[in-house]
Amino acid sequence: MEKMSRVTTALGGSVLTGRTMHCHLDAPANAISVCRDAAQVVVAGRSIFKIYAIEEEQFVEKLNLRVGRKPSLNLSCADVVWHQMDENLLATAATNGVVVTWNLGRPSRNKQDQLFTEHKRTVNKVCFHPTEAHVLLSGSQDGFMKCFDLRRKDSVSTFSGQSESVRDVQFSVRDYFTFASTFENGNVQLWDIRRPDRCERMFTAHNGPVFCCDWHPEDRGWLATGGRDKMVKVWDMTTHRAKEMHCVQTIASVARVKWRPECRHHLATCSMMVDHNIYVWDVRRPFVPAAMFEEHRDVTTGIAWRHPHDPSFLLSGSKDSSLCQHLFRDASQPVERANPEGLCYGLFGDLAFAAKESLVAAESGRKPYTGDRRHPIFFKRKLDPAEPFAGLASSALSVFETEPGGGGMRWFVDTAERYALAGRPLAELCDHNAKVARELGRNQVAQTWTMLRIIYCSPGLVPTANLNHSVGKGGSCGLPLMNSFNLKDMAPGLGSEARLDRSKGDARSDTVLLDSSATLITNEDNEETEGSDVPADYLLGDVEGEEDELYLLDPEHAHPEEPECVLPQEAFPLRHEIVDTPPGPEHLQDKADSPHVSGSEADVASLAPVDSSFSLLSVSHALYDSRLPPDFFSVLVRDMLHFYAEQGDVQMAVSVLIILGERVRKDIDEQTQEHWYTSYIDLLQRFRLWNVSNEVVKLSTSRAVSCLNQASTTLHVNCSHCKRPMSSRGWVCDRCHRCASMCAVCHHVVKGLFVWCQGCSHGGHLQHIMKWLEGSSHCPAGCGHLCEYS
């Protein structure tokens, strides 16, 4: 211990300088090790064994230890280590199982000192004792660890790992007699060098091989291990049982791990496969590496901190045949690139939002907007000043709740459950869905369905509507020319739809012009006129009329601020354009500022006027000239779908997509469709509408979506005899060795759908039972029960 500190103080005087640099080696490196003077590094590999001097600007080759005429496997190094006490002493582990020591002080060209050929298989690791000059430890694939005294010709003691391959051996820095060894089966053993008969302690650290370990330079008993299971674990060995203190999950198997000097919680890792970077982790922040070095083009095979008391210089060797010096200040810091904002919906429309504290504070001036209807709740995590990235990663979490009464998503569930998506002619589907939407008070949606029906189905009855009347009306309201033209155009077409609600428009125009508080009354009027079926033939009226119904059915939307917002999204707002537009922009702004979120599409439509005026135009054309092919509208329908999706009503987009099928599919690119499908399915699943979601999956034409219900189709069942879960197969019980479900018709085991009678509990293959019950009403098992299949 004393020696050690003396050495370091002696070295502490000189200040290390240098820059990030690399040099090309002739061959891939397997391991590197640094001399205690921090000015030289040795690189070893299958066909390279050289010492480089680390200078200010570059690496300079100082010595090539691979001498001799013929290449020998003794020089094919799996590992190399430089003695931390003696500058002239090195040891290498050869792939053929030989341990070689090298004495740089030898006068001859060949510096090879001693050869230990005791291991039968590849030696994976060699390690010098940190304070003892002559003690060398090796760990080999043959399952043995051997301790050599360099003054003797063969090993002093042999430690057996019970024929499990040893991947790493490391002397403890603090405890003179202790060393740790790691094994291919995931175990870590602690040995006392004086007791070769049995290990002091053994525990399973990883799942699969443990490739490396490293003792903490200061904290007694801290051991970091890295394994093939992609984890780095920090163990506290001072307690009675080895305790896992930290665990870092990396993205690839961990080949090397080295504690960073002078930084208690930092360690560097590199990977054996796939990932070429070197990471420096703060073990308390296991998700984002503190620093990252990305210089290498192939896997890094060896890392070493240049000086045991300098945390800023890291050396590394790689399979890409290069040797690198990394400077900590040049490292890339993933934290800087990380996005510390997070956003998540709760099931009931709550929204949680986490952002950098500074950002939230800056926006606090706008809080009044959020205060009235939705209630933001702010959380702030208590910060530990000692923790890393404190400045970078502190964030505030805000939760916005939807108003309990605002019940948000009920319409979504209802719609999803009641929509018909297939199995009937297009016209019927559209009508059905329009009806559903209307009943739920979603008039714009209902209108859209009606329009789709008109566009894609033959117009059917076209009543000769009162052209003059509408024009006259329009004129009387002072509509611009354009609008009146539209009206004229569509007059013959709107037909049955229009006729139903003809009179509403009158009432409606009043309503809007007056005040929304009058809605309820006018609405009642509407109902009456509708029933009486007076041929008032005001064409545009129907839409606005329905708008009123919305308020009736959906009272929570009747906020005074809202009608103006809702109005524009109606399909036929043109007549009131002049009236409606002025309050629009103001209101828009309000909307944008208030951070409320709600699924109900009524809140969100601000683009509606533009869009619906388009659709109006199209309808009128279609009906004016019914020879136009439906393709003519596909662009508009596509826009419409996009519009709904943009609004957040992906339900509508997907439903229309499914129902129209080939008619529109080609106009919308695959990815968008897939995106819609997946988001709708996701929503459905959040609301636990499994049947609907499966139907959507089934009806979807996108390959990526329709294969969704092909994956993870495992169903867990219990045995009907012993009530235990049948783990391996669904139809044979492991415990009582009986087939749990036999078909009463064919007497075979049922592996798929099993249907059974709840009366007599006999059953079998769905098809078989169905077929059986067609011909007979008695149970196929012959129990005499009269089974029913519905």
């Binding site: 299958r46 198997s253 796939v274 192939d298 492991d734």
Partner: protein
């Protein structure tokens, strides 16, 4: 009307003839018309293996609890208890891992659709003309809804699968030639390209079925009763003699000459075992003393590698595949080619630079989760499996022998272990054994019963099956190593 009847008769007559003369095994027979009435098939072979007498093999019904569970698993997973399972059950520990892996590869979550998996199995087995596996998987393929048209040949399969044909070919016969260009070609083929995960799945399937084909031939697995060649409609009195039995040397019924041969050589083979054990003892003891020089060690590997090319059975004549599976290959001429026979030099693959445990496993597990673990377990069990017996001797440490076999196979594929003295192989494996190993691993379709019987004559059948397990796992690992190294190189 009359004409038609005559024509009918004219057609049926040759049918009946071919019925008598034809052989199911070589596809000589024809399907039976309804008019011939229902006929009851009889099993053709004698038990699950042509090489192992039926009485040596465990009878279904007499198994212990563990084996019973395994049978149940196998039956539940495959819907049958195939002959491979019945032979492998000599080693239940391995069988369990084998079935688990196979089940996962074929039926559990994975990037490839089910019918693709079976089709790849068919492709792989067809490379070795293994009609047994092809037949099994044709059934499975159709069962999971595969398109029967694909079975008319690889050119009828989707382009994506056709692209895999080249890799299949190289992997089966000369895996050391796989380069990252092969991988790149598969991954970047526009709309027919494979994803990395799919490719790894495919590679695992290919290697699995290449090696399983080795096992099928190596243990002389008999065709299943429901497959072509597994049954006969001929009355038992008619001799089972068929031309294809001769060419393959598989005399399934006439055991007389074999028995006499055994009688003659009983004393010989007894000494063989003794000699082998003596050699193992010697190697164990005097390993340290006769320390070979480095050059010596290196040259021993080269010698072994070179020699492995010449240990071919003398009857090297090409058996042209007369079975319908031949439609699956494009060029039959592309077979196993030895390393330097044609002056081709292949750099040695150093296992210390790319090994399964460190590199292959990580890659597979990354791209096809859980499978790496399953295969890893299977390799471990196969490599470490031992009962500490050798023929009539008990308590023998066979690790040296097992390692010699394993490394010899890898040596044939050019894979070298730095820490192994290849001189040991020469000491432990005699020529007839080498011939058998070489044939099973490289050209399994040429294995004959004579080869099976001529090595290790005194050893039990279970031990010979054990050898086969080592062979197929070592082969699978070798192919996987080359394929995965190419993928790794592509990725970096």
């Amino acid at each position: 009307m009359r004409l038609a009847t005559v024509a009918n008769e004219a057609y049926t007559a040759p049918l009946a003839v071919s019925e008598l003369l034809g052989c199911k095994q070589c596809g000589g027979g024809r399907d039976h018309d309804e008019e011939l009435g229902i006929r009851i098939p009889r099993p053709l072979g004698q038990g699950p293996s042509r090489f192992i007498p039926e009485k040596e093999i465990l009878q279904v019904g007499s198994e212990d609890a563990q084996m019973h569970a395994l049978f149940a698993d196998s039956f539940a997973a495959l819907g049958r208890l195939d002959n491979i399972t019945l032979v492998m059950v000599f080693h239940p520990q391995y069988l369990e891992s084998f079935l688990k892996t196979q089940h996962y590869l074929l039926q559990m979550d994975g990037p490839l659709p089910l019918h693709y998996r079976h089709y790849i199995g068919i492709m792989a087995a067809a490379r070795h003309q293994c009609s047994y596996l092809v037949n099994l998987h044709v059934n499975d393929f159709l069962h999971v809804g595969g398109d029967p048209k694909w079975l008319n040949g690889l050119e009828n399969a989707p382009q994506k699968l056709q692209n895999l044909g080249e890799l299949n070919k190289v992997l089966a016969h000369r895996p050391w030639l796989i380069t990252k260009e092969h991988i790149e070609g598969l991954l970047k083929a526009e709309e027919h390209s494979w994803s990395l995960a799919e490719l790894v799945h495919a590679v695992v399937l290919l290697t699995h079925y290449h090696s399983l084909a080795s096992f099928t031939f190596g243990c002389g697995i008999s065709p299943e009763i429901h497959c072509d060649g597994g049954h006969t409609f001929r009355p038992p009195s008619v001799s089972n003699y068929c031309i294809c039995d001769i060419t393959n040397g598989n005399h399934s019924v006439d055991e007389m000459p074999v028995n006499s041969a055994e009688n003659v050589s009983v004393s010989d083979s007894f000494f063989e075992v003794e000699a082998l054990m003596e050699k193992m003892r010697q190697l164990q003891e005097c390993r340290d003393e006769e320390e070979a020089s480095q050059e010596e060690m290196a040259s021993r590997f080269e010698i072994e590698k070179r020699e492995s090319m010449f240990v071919f059975s003398s009857d090297d004549d090409e058996v042209t595949p007369a079975r319908d599976v031949s439609r699956h290959f494009e060029d039959t001429s592309y077979g196993y080619k030895d390393f330097s026979r044609h002056g081709m030099h292949v750099p040695t693959f150093r296992v210390q630079d790319y090994c399964w445990e460190d590199h292959g496993y990580s890659l597979v597990n990354r791209l096809y989760p859980d499978v790496g673990q399953l295969i890893d377990e299977k390799f471990h069990i196969a490599y470490n499996l031992t009962y500490n017996t050798m023929a009539m001797h008990k308590d023998v440490d066979t690790s040296m022998l097992r390692r010699a076999i394993w490394n010899y196979i890898h040596c044939m594929f050019g894979i070298r272990y730095d820490d192994y003295d290849y001189g040991e192989i020469n000491q432990l494996l005699d020529r007839s054994f080498k011939v058998y190993i070489k044939t099973v691993v490289c050209t399994p379709e040429k294995v004959t019963k004579r080869m099976y019987e001529s090595f290790w004559r005194q050893f039990k059948h279970s031990e010979k099956v054990h050898v086969n397990l080592l062979l197929i796992e070592a082969r699978m690992q070798a192919e996987l190593l080359y394929a995965l190294r190419a993928i790794t190189r592509y990725m970096t």
